[in-house]
């Protein structure tokens, strides 16, 4: 936190050094001038990351955009088909279905995960500073996704699962968590919530630790209770962290793949769990329709870009109320 405040202070001072009459118009120019001195060193330090970015992100992305305008089955050379893939996509019911079930997953996962994580973080913040507790929250996050998927697949199995044994022993009737269309996607969403809540809670917790203690003290002196302190001080001051967590987990959530791919229903029952990433994977690597898969992927990038932009705008993520 000291670092952030320090650098923003430096920028502010630099901006104020200019002649008084030029403050408004010249500010961007002054900023560029202030940075130029570090430019060479900075580019040197950035080079390894840039090379990696160009090689593993930029180049594949450009190739992907190119493939999206071709018919390509991985084995014979791609040939151009113009916008045919995008026209097909517009009429492809499986694509729209994939978007719909992915959104369903994202909503259930993000809402439950954020609410639970905020609650956990607040409990930790108010009750304990124990490192052990913090580590325990991370345990599900440390388990590989595939292992988590298999674990819950066994626990929730309709015939042989432990959870269904408990339910039937308590007098209920067994549930096909993965095999009932209306339950399959919520089940997968909740499994991933289970896995990521602890991690998200730690991020929120770290954010809470950054809020100056004086604010809580004065709130207490003014007679604010737990709930009021949480809603009036913690939540508003947590906004930048909240924005970061929401953007990252939204993008991560759209990328749901492992749990779906572990499920033997392979996107079923009746397409209920054929999420967008899994659909792209099936198109590209089981149906070998790389061209069309690329078109779906490019469309997803556009959708995610718009969503992220909106989110950052709405949450004013770059500004903190503390500044």
């Amino acid at each position: 936190m000291a670092g952030i405040t320090g650098s923003s202070l430096a920028v502010a001072t630099a901006a104020h050094e200019g002649p008084p009459e030029a403050v408004g118009a010249a500010r961007p120019g002054r900023r560029r001038a202030a940075r130029r001195g570090d430019g060479r060193i900075a580019s040197l330090f950035l080079a390894p990351a840039l090379v990696g970015f160009a090689l593993f992100y930029l180049y594949p992305t450009i190739r992907g955009v190119y493939f999206s305008f071709t018919d390509y089955d991985l084995l014979s050379p791609p040939h151009s088909v113009g916008a045919a893939n995008y026209r097909y996509l517009w009429r492809d019911p499986l694509f729209w279905n994939a978007l719909r079930v992915t959104l369903q997953y994202v909503v259930i996962n993000i809402v439950s995960q954020t609410v639970l994580a905020l609650g956990l973080a607040w409990l930790m913040f108010r009750l304990t500073r124990s490192v052990l507790v913090r580590v325990l929250f991370l345990v599900p996050w440390l388990v590989p996704n595939v292992a988590v998927g298999l674990l819950w697949l066994w626990l929730l199995d309709a015939n042989l699962g432990f959870v269904n044994h408990l339910i039937t022993d308590l007098g209920g009737s067994s549930q096909g968590f993965f095999t009932t269309p209306s339950l399959a996607m919520p089940t997968i969403a909740v499994i991933n919530t289970w896995q990521y809540t602890g991690y998200t809670a730690l991020l929120f917790y770290a954010g809470m630790l950054q809020i100056p203690g004086t604010l809580f003290e004065s709130a207490r002196l003014d007679g604010a209770g737990e709930v009021r302190t949480f809603t009036r001080i913690t939540l508003p001051l947590l906004r930048p962290i909240m924005a970061l967590v929401l953007v990252v987990s939204l993008i991560g959530s759209f990328q749901i793949f492992d749990t779906v791919s572990i499920d033997p229903a392979q996107g079923g029952p009746v397409n209920a769990t054929r999420v967008i990433y899994y659909y792209i994977y099936q198109l590209a690597f089981t149906q070998f329709r790389m061209g069309y898969a690329s078109a779906v992927a490019v469309t997803l990038v556009l959708i995610l870009g718009v969503l992220t932009f909106l989110q950052l705008r709405l949450l004013r993520a770059s500004r903190s109320d503390l500044a």
């Binding site: 580019s43 991985l74 084995l75 014979s76 096909g176 229903a265 079923g268 149906q287």
Partner: protein, 450 residues
């Protein structure tokens, strides 16, 4: 500013150079010295048998060593295709009829016609019908290595408890109207929580303890271990001939079969789709929650091997209106067209398809070799090990008793679509007629898609 940019560019190039250099350094020569061929398999239970073949082969021809790589079925084809794209696929790999048409279309596997002719491979030594499956447009792309058929597997204790003798299973009949004696047997093996079986008027279908039949609902486009064989017994045919585009999913014979298959759950004789385990039929039978199911001979070792948790017996499929019909499938070995050692690869392939190798594989008792003589050896070895797998062999040898896998393009897309539509039938969301009609029109569409 400009200098910074130049330097940045230099740094980028400098950093990228070792990668480019590394890319160039991997090259090999196709000289006659000792070579190592890579050979890909997907079934780990078969690896021991083929390793023994490879050892025998190297002993005979010390200049060629075989390195076996194994990947699970679920990623085998993805791995293989991406390796081909990257120019780094195995020299020889195990091939499946569902996938080889695509490799042929993309020039990824070698035409073996000339080699087979000049080496005078006796195509009559194989189980009839198998060798023809690997011919596309008059060219041969593989030699049969093994075969598999479908049969019933039952829990012997449950069968005895129901008062049914194993030998009576030989004459089971089936039809889509009342299910024949096959459905009677399934009902008899189904036990509710009060101990009543499915034939009893007091049978409580909502509290079933042991299901008479554990269905395989996720069985793709062929229903190989479920509805497919029964549908063919009912007069259905997937395709008029291999490589045809005229699929027949809207056929009434298939519709009747699917309706009957779905009815088992409605009658309480089989777990409904929602309550069927996703862990596989083997897990349900091992847990004692099911009495019988249908399996392929490639899965026999799960029931007869040391890991089986119950005692099982095998039987032939029931006899349908058109007689007893089982899907017979076989695998072959293909040479990747990008191999540096085509001559050596052919030597290895012809060894794999010869009695020398198939006799070795036969003794390992995991699969049935394609050569009829070797099949006999495999059967003897299995029976000696206490596994009565004769039903699978009898089915394969019965005249007119088998049909081959529907060979066509777009197989995996068809599989996804047919599976989704049938899921809706199993869930009671759609009738078999409307689901199969939807599937058929989608499948017809694939044949003309870009």
């Amino acid at each position: 500013m400009r200098r910074t940019r130049t330097r940045l560019a230099v740094a980028l190039i400098a950093a990228a150079t070792p990668i480019a250099a590394a890319g160039c350094s991997s090259g090999g020569s196709a000289s006659a010295g000792p070579v190592t061929l890579s050979y890909a398999l997907w079934d780990q239970t078969q690896q021991a048998g083929y390793q023994a073949c490879a050892d025998a082969f190297t002993a005979q021809d010390p200049n060629i060593k075989i390195k076996i790589t194994q990947a699970a079925w679920s990623n085998y084809w993805q791995n293989l295709t991406t390796e081909m794209t990257a120019g780094d696929a195995p020299d020889v790999f195990t091939d499946h009829v569902a996938y080889y048409p695509q490799f042929v279309a993309d020039n990824q596997i070698m035409d073996l016609t000339a080699d087979v002719t000049s080496a005078q491979v006796n195509l009559g030594q194989y189980q009839p019908g198998l060798a023809d499956m690997w011919v596309d447009g008059g060219k041969r792309y593989g030699l049969p290595k093994d075969w598999d058929t479908e049969g019933l597997v039952y829990n012997t204790k449950m069968l005895t408890a129901a008062g049914v003798s194993p030998s009576s299973l030989d004459s089971l009949t089936w039809n889509p109207t009342d299910g024949g004696t096959f459905e009677q047997l399934i009902a008899k093996l189904t036990i509710d929580e009060n101990g009543n079986n499915g034939l009893s008027p007091k049978f409580d279908k909502s509290h079933v303890k042991v299901y008479g039949y554990v269905p395989t609902y996720d069985d793709g486009n062929t229903g190989q271990s479920s509805w497919g064989d029964l549908a063919v017994e009912n007069g259905f045919s997937f395709l008029p001939k291999p490589f045809s585009t005229a699929y027949n999913y809207a056929s009434p014979a298939l519709e009747q079969t699917v309706t009957w298959y779905a009815s088992l759950a409605q009658k309480g004789y089989a777990p409904p789709y929602q309550k069927n385990s996703t862990l596989g039929v083997n897990a349900v039978l091992d847990a004692g929650q099911g009495a019988m199911t249908q399996i392929g001979s490639y899965n026999v070792s799960s029931y007869a091997g040391p890991t089986a948790k119950q005692s099982y017996g095998f039987a032939e499929l029931p006899i349908g209106p058109d007689g007893r019909k089982t899907l017979i499938n076989d695998l072959s070995d293909a040479i990747w067209s990008g191999t540096k050692y085509p001559t050596q690869a052919w030597k290895w392939i012809s060894f794999l398809a010869s009695p020398a190798c198939q006799d070795i594989v036969a003794t390992k008792g995991v699969i049935f070799p394609a050569i009829t003589e070797a099949t006999k050896k495999a059967e003897t070895a299995r029976i000696a090990a206490g596994q009565n797998i004769t039903p699978f062999v009898q089915e394969a040898q019965a005249p007119g008793g088998t049909f081959i896998y529907p060979i066509s393009q777009h197989e995996s897309q068809i599989s996804t679509e047919v599976q989704s539509q049938l899921d809706a039938v199993w869930l009671g969301q759609a009738s078999a007629a409307s689901a199969l009609e939807t599937a058929q029109s989608a499948v017809s569409g694939y044949m003309s898609q870009p």
